[in-house]
Amino acid sequence: MIQAIFIPKLGLTMEDATVIEWQASDGDYVTKGQQLLTIETDKIMFDIEAEAEGFLHRVALPNARVLVGELAGELYPSKEAAIKATRAFKTVISDSTNTTSSDTSALNSPALPDPTSSNLSRHPAKLSFEGNGRIMVSPVARVLASEKQVDLQSVRGSGPGGVILLRDIEATPQKPSPKVSPIIVNVDSATASTRQPITPMRRAISQRMMASLSKTAQMTGFGRIDMGEVQILRESLVAQEAQLGVRITYTDIVLKAVALVLQDMPEINAYIDGDDIVILSHINIGLAVSVEGGLVVPVIRHVNRLSLVELAHKRIELIEKSRNNRLAPEDVTGGSFTLSNFGSYGGDFETPILNAPQSALLGIGQIALEPAVRKGQVVARPLMWISLTFDHRLIDGALAGRFRVRLRELLEQPAGMLAHLR
């Protein structure tokens, strides 16, 4: 009977060993307990003894790396059998360097199912992206989309479940494809043109302006107002700034006067809605405010019911909010009329564009000393242009003219305003 000699497992982590030397040769007779060979693991040297008697045939060669459980040799019942035995084999152990995973070996085991897959795991992975109508976009993609002003509605997501990923935004061109042929730049020109994308605010303004002009029959009528009495009134109010708690400005006084006129001429505080003309009961006047990058029009509600002091406070509040980008939706809606001060940038008279769906807009210019005729004499008077744009579909020229006249009356004799003030 042939007795096999195996490489024993000598420790938990032992996987292989090196054959150092044999103490007996092929064909030698060995007794039970006799030392046969010495192997070395990464931790120790070990002598393997014969477990029975017999004639030795060596299988593992000196210096060979052998695996635990591998056949090292055999003991035959006769010397001839031992010598005759020709069992050659090679040790196939790839010398692994820095990797420890046995998965990289050439052993072909059948692929195992993934234990965390949903049909095996007790806690199936939830689908990360569940649409339900929202645009699903990754955080970094959203950031880039915002920077590039890419409209997410127009992007097709390539991620799982249709989520928009960074690569989708990166692939989106920065500007929409131009419908007009590109402007040919004169390459000899001394100055270089610049190009920058349109901001959302600018886009909004341009869309509003085009809509207003295309949908209404706008025209503008002008007038001049002698602001001398208003100046005196204002100076007096400014002198009382401490008691009033606020500095009253020309804008406040003009707002108040406009509100009084609109009370008497409600047809101007109106708009066209489809087939109806809506005459508004409230007098909410929007104030055009220039902000960085464009224009906003916050609305002062019920100007007819506010005192000059209250108007001034409200004006200050809204301008501050405008400048700090903190206007709420209710601050910019519900206006029935708009006031625009060209004078703040040195303008005189202009043809302002209506703030749809309103039907009238008043622009006031700067107050400047100009020659005027009073009692046959040419004198210097502080004069101010007013520009009233109106929608001729609703307001006729005569009505618009009456508005200007009435406004002038109130402003040139501000005591009259007092008579109507509630």
């Binding site: 990464d42 820095n98 995973s101 993934d114 234990p115 965390t116």
Partner: protein, 325 residues
């Protein structure tokens, strides 16, 4: 440069520190005469004698307690808890005593102690000898927890741990013991605690891997590279305090992260990394942070089960590909 195995690199580290500082000593089960249950302290008893290298009874609580008291009174003990699975026996001395001594007594005591332990996941030993419990100790303020994945890191971190004036849980992996690496000669190898290591630079996805998983991630990286995917592999090396900055820098570049760990997913290391990335790199993420771990079961005995349950290089690569879809 000398080639050393992970196991010998650790022995060298301990030996060097014991030579350098007579206050350093080592106690634990089988650390002396047997040279360590897994050979992890061979030669030390002979070199330093049986006061400084001493075999203890099987008494994890007092083994750690001995370290606590010695550390409080001027010594720098290294105590061994043979398998991390045994932490349940001595958690009071670790979490209530060692971790809190310096704090509770307002700095009166330092606790320069190393608790050396072993994770034997995937070694086929069974449910009580295979758990990776860094989350237990990472959750305790006052402890530091390190988990080296290479011989070089092991040596450098062990030396730093011994020199640190705080209790450091030093987690070895049994499966890494035979890994070989080049260790520099001459200069002292000190790797700072609390500093991660970028083991491989890439740009498509960040893989954060610990312990045994680092090597697997690197193998997966090679597989993926052949398909044109370059992953960045980060080995935190220290579990707590976690070097989140290195991971954040990487994710800001790659926009995707996957944590691969031998520990369980619920309440595990991956959860911590994921939460940190959520808080500090949310706007850089192009996909949710992934976690690849064994499923939430105890570890049954045997290699067959282990191979099924634990992530390997193929699964890591597959997960990366899934996350890049």
């Amino acid at each position: 440069m000398t080639t050393k195995t992970y196991c010998w690199a650790l022995i060298d580290a301990i030996r060097e520190e014991m030579e350098r500082d007579p206050n350093v000593f080592l106690v634990g089960e089988d650390v002396g005469a047997a040279g360590g249950a897994f050979g992890g302290s061979r030669g030390l008893l002979k070199a330093f004698g049986n006061l400084r290298v001493r075999d203890t009874p099987i008494s994890e609580e007092v083994i750690v307690g001995l370290g606590v008291g010695a550390a409080m009174t001027g010594k720098r003990p290294i105590v061994e808890v043979m398998f991390m699975d045994f932490f349940g026996i001595c958690l009071d001395q670790i979490a209530n005593q060692a971790a809190k001594m310096h704090y509770l007594y307002n700095g009166s005591f330092k606790m320069p102690m190393v608790i050396r332990t072993m994770v034997a996941a995937e070694m086929g030993i069974g449910p009580h000898h295979s758990q990776s419990l860094e989350a237990w100790v990472g959750h305790v303020p006052g402890l530091k927890v390190v988990m080296p994945s290479t011989p070089r890191d092991a040596k450098g971190l062990m030396k730093s741990a011994i020199r640190d004036n705080n209790p450091v849980i030093f987690i070895e992996h049994l499966g890494l013991h035979r890994m070989k690496d080049e260790i520099p000669d001459g200069e002292e190898l000190l790797i700072p605690i609390g500093k991660a290591d970028v083991k491989r630079i890439g740009s498509d996805l960040t893989v954060v891997a610990t312990g045994l998983m680092v090597g697997k991630a690197l193998v997966a990286a090679e597989q993926l590279a052949r398909q044109g995917i370059e992953i960045e592999v980060i080995d935190p090396r220290t579990i707590s305090p976690l070097d989140i900055d290195t991971i954040l820098t990487s994710v800001r570049k790659t926009h995707r992260a996957l944590v691969v760990s031998s520990a369980h997913k619920p309440f595990g290391f991956g959860s911590e990394v994921s939460a940190e990335l959520m808080e500090h790199a949310f706007f850089h993420l192009d996909a949710p942070v992934g976690r690849l771990t064994p499923p939430f079961t105890p570890q049954p005995f045997g290699k067959g089960f282990e191979k099924f349950l634990h992530p390997d290089a193929d699964r890591i690569a597959a997960k990366v590909q899934e996350m890049l879809r």
